[in-house]
Symmetry: C2
DNA sequence: CCCCAATTGTTCAATGTTCAAGTAGATGCC
DNA sequence: GGCATCTACTTGAACATTGAACAATTGGGG
């Protein structure tokens, strides 16, 4: 039940919706910080940077165009550019010119980058499991997946050809 | 002696778990960015700062000790200190000495701060509704609340201050 | 061809965040 | 009281992020 029966000029959140929203904010803030610290300590990089290495590792040839990597990781090209520069300084990624488009750059996972991933992935998976999956029932895990898929799709600017093996 | 497909000593995420985890990362990243932009545009501050004003507005006397505000907003005291300095520069919050503990500081919502909140809250609620609640069934909203409460509680360092009489 | 709009990736300046001190006041114990 | 220790908050420097502006390149009509 919201407020008065009057449609009013504005529709607020009900008490229950507020509780849900606040729980969401708390949980996501805490989990994000938690994983950031875990990875900063164990892998020397923030969570988002780690995610970039994972995406590169999965890609054919362990390389992706900058824009494609930005799309998959849901960050801006600007942020990605900074991130890749930092990862490059660490020796975990290198840049290559794109052969088919002279504007393009490829981010390529280096052997060292793959090694870091190999070393730190188990600890990270443990952290995710411990903070999330181990605490939820199978039913809740399923629900979470459905909910998050809906939300992500609603906010996706316009995802075309998202999953095609885009590589040249 | 184990054989080739041995998963080893470590328990990875199943395919389904990976899907859920990725959906979670995508949705939370997109939603957080979305709301940050919405509030930066309409209220001139990031989402977290807005949340601080909300917490102050709800508190008795529209004021809270720094540490208490940090706990409720789930951010570090250091980050809070910087944030309050910025909000103070905007004239939306002011600091006061705590009468009962001379180490303490109170963050107090100013009239201007309350005004900003009044002006921007409807738009923010709309954004949250549109991105989240309007897309979920009642059942999903309930599940989301339960799941997020579990996750938050699992990561809470140790919440003993939740015993306030007027807590809602 | 030639223009012009769109795309790619980077850069700069302003802003926000983190982590490791640092200061000052409270607390407890003899 | 005197001393160690804990708590509250701030600070500064290093690092990360944002958004706008930019140069280079592409591609689609006339």
């Amino acid at each position: 039940m919201t407020t008065a029966p009057d449609p009013g000029p504005h529709r607020w959140l009900s008490d229950e919706e507020q509780r849900v929203w606040r729980a969401y904010l708390h949980a996501t803030t805490l989990l994000d910080d938690h994983l950031d610290r875990q990875l900063q300590r164990d892998a020397g990089m923030p969570h988002i940077y780690y995610g970039l290495l994972v995406l590169l590792a999965e890609a054919p040839g362990t390389r992706l165009r900058m824009t494609e990597l930005a799309k998959r990781s849901k960050i801006t090209r600007s942020r990605l550019s900074h991130a890749v520069s930092r990862l490059e300084k660490n020796g975990w990624v290198r840049r290559e010119d794109c052969p088919s488009d002279r504007r393009g750059q490829l981010a390529v996972l280096t052997a060292e980058g793959a090694e870091v991933l190999r070393e730190t992935a188990p600890g990270h998976v443990d952290a995710v499991r411990q903070a999330l999956f181990d605490r939820l029932t199978a039913r809740q895990q399923k629900a979470l997946g459905e909910i998050m898929t809906i939300v992500a799709e609603g906010l996706q600017p316009d995802e075309e050809g998202a999953d095609l093996p885009w590589l040249r």
